[in-house]
């Protein structure tokens, strides 16, 4: 089981997805290849993770970093996550198999499960507020 800190960020950008990805990797050296960026019009969602033993970046700090890459962040969610291999087993009772459901939602045999949000904030009137 591996532990990470995952950052999920919503915002706006006019930049290309590939350029944001490249920029993220060059500014944050401790990221692995698990970087997801989805863009719809000018709206963008970014998701990346760092090892669990590094310092958690604060919202203002993340915002400053992203603005260098041309991304205006509006919401930031930081969570502790664990990754593990999904093991198939059948549940005999009629209850919903939540492990299977989470494995399916997190897209594969290697399941990333969130252990909870450690920091979340939203930009309001130009200032970051904890929510």
């Amino acid at each position: 089981m591996e532990k990470h800190i995952r950052y999920v960020i919503d915002g706006y950008t006019t930049q290309r997805v590939e350029d944001i990805k490249k920029g993220l990797k060059s500014h944050l050296t401790n990221l692995d290849d698990d970087i997801k960026i989805s863009k719809n019009g000018y709206k963008v969602s970014l998701s990346f993770r760092t090892p669990a033993n590094v310092r958690v970046m604060q919202c203002q700090e993340i915002d400053e970093l992203l603005s260098k890459l041309g991304v205006v962040a509006t919401r930031i969610i930081v969570s502790d996550v664990v990754t593990y291999e999904y093991m198939t087993y059948t549940e005999s009772n009629k209850r919903l198999n939540v492990n299977l459901l989470i494995a399916a939602l997190s897209d594969g045999k290697t399941v990333e499960r969130s252990e909870g949000i450690i920091l979340s904030c939203k930009k309001r009137d130009g200032k970051w507020m904890r929510i």
């Binding site: 995952r6 999920v8 919503d10 998701s47 919401r75 969610i77 969570s79 996550v81 999904y86 198939t88 059948t90 549940e91 209850r95 919903l96 198999n97 939540v98 299977l100 459901l101 989470i102 494995a103 399916a104 939602l105 997190s106 897209d107 594969g108 045999k109 499960r113 969130s114 252990e115 909870g116 949000i117 979340s120 939203k122 929510i131």
Partner: protein, 156 residues
Amino acid sequence: MDENLERRIKTNSEELYRLYQEGKNLRLSNNILAFVLLSAIEEASNHFIEILLSKCGNSTLMRNITARIYNKHEIKYELFLVIYYTMQNYDVETIIERVKQLSSKWVNIRSGYVNVSEEELNEIETYYSNYGEMEKVILGLNKDESCDILNTLVQM
């Protein structure tokens, strides 16, 4: 308040389904009927999220889920379908494959990019017809399970 909201969203979904049935009698086009039916599924998915939120009771999760998920159709379809296929106990790869395929198809149908056939319409209705069973299963989850699902959803 939460319980009230839950009930209202459930009623919305049921009303949309009734609208679909009436539209069918009026011989409205398949594309319009599919749009109404998919809206009913979105509301069903919202209903499941509300149940999970009230079971989990974490206000930070609630604020973030509400803001991030409520206008994302694809995630709502994905959640609905993942619950459906998990209940059938398919293996994880099959679930992921089917859910991806179907949810993106539904997004295209909802956007009016494709002409919906009679068969496709019936297929969507079959999924919706499991709403009651799915609700029961979601209601049977405990606090930790509900929070775990929501924590995964908020990152999608």
